[in-house]
Amino acid sequence: MEEKIKSIIKTSGNSPDRLMDILLSVQKEFRCVPEEAVSLIASALGISEADVNQTKTFYHFFSSKPVGKYAVYLNNAAVSGMMGMAEVADEFEKQAGIKFGETTPDGLISLDYTACIGMSDQEPAALINSVVFTELTREKVKEIVAGMKEGKTVESMVPEYGDGNNAHPLVKSMVKNNIRKAGPVCLGDYDAGKTLSKALSMNPKDVISEVQKSNLRGRGGAGFPTGLKWLFCSQESGERYVICNADEGEPGTFKDRVLLTERAKMIFEGMTIAGWAIGAKEGIVYLRYEYDYLLKFLNSILDEMREKNMLGKNIMGKGFDYDIRIQSGAGAYVCGEESALIESTEGKRGEPRNRPPFPTQSGYNEKPTIINNVETFCSAVKIVEKGGEWFSNMGTEESSGTKLLSISGDCKQPGVYEVEWGMTIKEMLDMVDATDVQAVQVAGPSGVCVPPSQFSRKIAIEDLATGGSMIVVGKQRDLIKDIVLNFMEFFEDESCGSCITCRSFNMILRRMVEKIVEGRGIKPDLDNMVQWGEIMRNTSRCGLGQTSANPVSTTISNFRELYESKVKDVDFQSDFDMKKAIIESCEAVGRPPVVHE
């Protein structure tokens, strides 16, 4: 083991900021990160075992005990639940003879749940040794587990390949793109290298002002003006970095996965243009581990671009040196938050930093850094190609251009749609052929649950902002149980635990929703939940805690009658159960569990 680990450390760069890569390789090799590895890594990198352990224990896909030779991670996000995850889980348990959270005694199969893996338009889906299996059914699970018992490779169990680059020899995945509507920006015509060549003949300042002219705003969800971010960073001195946020973790989003599959060059080209504009020499793509199946393919595209002199030294003969590397994540929603993403890229726990300083002032390795979403870089390419004005003529006053929507849930045409900002929810529902809609969850769990009375609202940063996640919830669903409770369980799991309110209130709110679902809720619970959500919003450092009460607060405000029909109209009700509370100690001391009242 020692030799193997030493060689992994050596090939990964032997530096503390590559700890993520080292741990990923160790996990892959040994199916866990054993104690022995922790001390070897610590001494090789010159850091403490605690440093290694805190990174190791932070991420979902690192484990202390070995996962199975076939490690199944079934997605338990809300949409997966809506599409029949419970049956699939039941079949996995039956066929493997173990429960979720367990490994078979022979170490062959382990079953675990995981948060949204970016396949909401083809659920229920699972990762098995980082190979994606979509649209699972009881039948398919039977075949898969039988294959495992025969010792087949996971790759050979993929029944057929998806469209486009999903069938590429380095991808070979059954994932489907489901591009239902291509727009003029990200999914329209694209001629690799054309815009880069144009940009490199422009003054970097002019590139930035073109992006500013377009009014492009960040596509990850927060909507910060991209040109301004680039300008701020370009005004700093010294080394600078470009980071592409491909940690698409908001449940219900999968449009970046499609861009990574079909527009990889465009993303890298956008990053290179950004590097030219701000004066950076290095770009980093932070790729969520769930998209690990695309890693080889993406690296091959980078190689191809290096060969064509679109990356590397003296790009296109214009005297500009720039290269891109891909940093893999290891399963943590909070790493989508830009400062947590930087921490993770440096090999640490993905805990958000205090701001200011903002990343444009002090980011990766404390150097000025811009972090933009995958889609933002693609948009920037078109803006430089066709001009800021062309772009700003699309969309609304405050939200220019187009937006990729990942639409899933109860509709007949789930998939990716590139539409101009400003579309109403009603228009969107017609577009995806959805009827009998109870609600639309806009922008994922951290967004807003919109009732039919508000379906004339617009999808735009000034009205209903979204990073792309749109979940259609049909009337047949139990909104509180299937959606709200699922979202709160998700946030409880994904809170990094740094801020006290986020750490504890997500758990408390989840319990309260559970209480209501189980029929034990009382009326004052509703106002309490809203108030506690407000406290969490005001006292959390990052976007996670600032928005994680939204599933509760937006549904209580938009679907109050539904809640009121489920809670008792009393002031107080105790859940305390005396009989249950005394069993344990009576057994321990040997006396009858009887209370004389």
Binding site: D571, F572, S574, D575, F576, M578, K580, A581, I582, I583, E584, S585, C586, E587, A588, V589, G590, R591, P593, V595, E597
Partner: protein
């Protein structure tokens, strides 16, 4: 008008909150002019002899007797106040929550370094003894609590200000120092 009646009790607490109440020093003479005490360690009245206006409870609930006393207080007091960390959140005794009760009892009566001789491995199980509950519960999980006075213990000034405000009907003005704990 007759004076408001106060009752107090310490459940799974350390009596520190009661000590803090004594720390109001000579103001205790004023307090006696303002209120009358009923069931309380302060006057050693063991059982309620009449309905009370205010119940002050320190400590959480770690056994059946605590719960019984708490429910008695709720029955007999118009206003019930959780006093101090243990009553509000379980406090130090709640450190055992999360450890199985059997493990705690084994440590206390069989395996702990201070156990001494217990060859027959006797655990206290006389029927007269209260039964330990699976966890230490804060008061508001058992009965409705009207007010909370935080602190470990709440300072004498906080207890004084709160009580005077409550019995005189004046608005409670708490200086920041009284509820600042770090």
């Amino acid at each position: 008008m007759s004076k408001p009646i106060i009752a107090t009790a310490s459940l799974a607490g350390c009596f520190g909150c009661h000590m803090s109440l004594l720390d109001i020093d000579d103001r205790i003479l004023k307090l006696i002019e303002l209120v009358e005490f009923n069931k309380s360690p302060i006057d050693d009245i063991k059982t309620f002899t009449k309905q009370c206006d205010i119940g002050l409870i320190e400590g959480g609930c770690c056994n059946t007797e605590n719960i019984e006393v708490l429910k008695e207080f709720r029955k007999h007091c118009k206003i019930l106040i959780s006093v101090g960390e243990c009553a509000i959140m379980g406090g130090l005794p709640a450190m055992r929550n999360g450890i199985p009760v059997k493990e705690c009892l084994d440590e206390a009566y069989l395996d702990g370094p201070t156990v001494g001789e217990n060859k027959e491995k006797i655990m206290p199980n006389d029927e007269e003894l209260p039964i330990i509950t699976d966890k230490v519960y804060p008061l508001h999980e058992i009965v409705k609590v009207d007010y909370y006075l935080p602190g470990c213990p709440p300072s004498a000034d906080l207890l004084w200000e709160a009580l005077v405000a409550l019995v005189t009907g004046k608005e409670l003005e708490i200086p920041y120092e009284l509820i600042k704990f770090d």
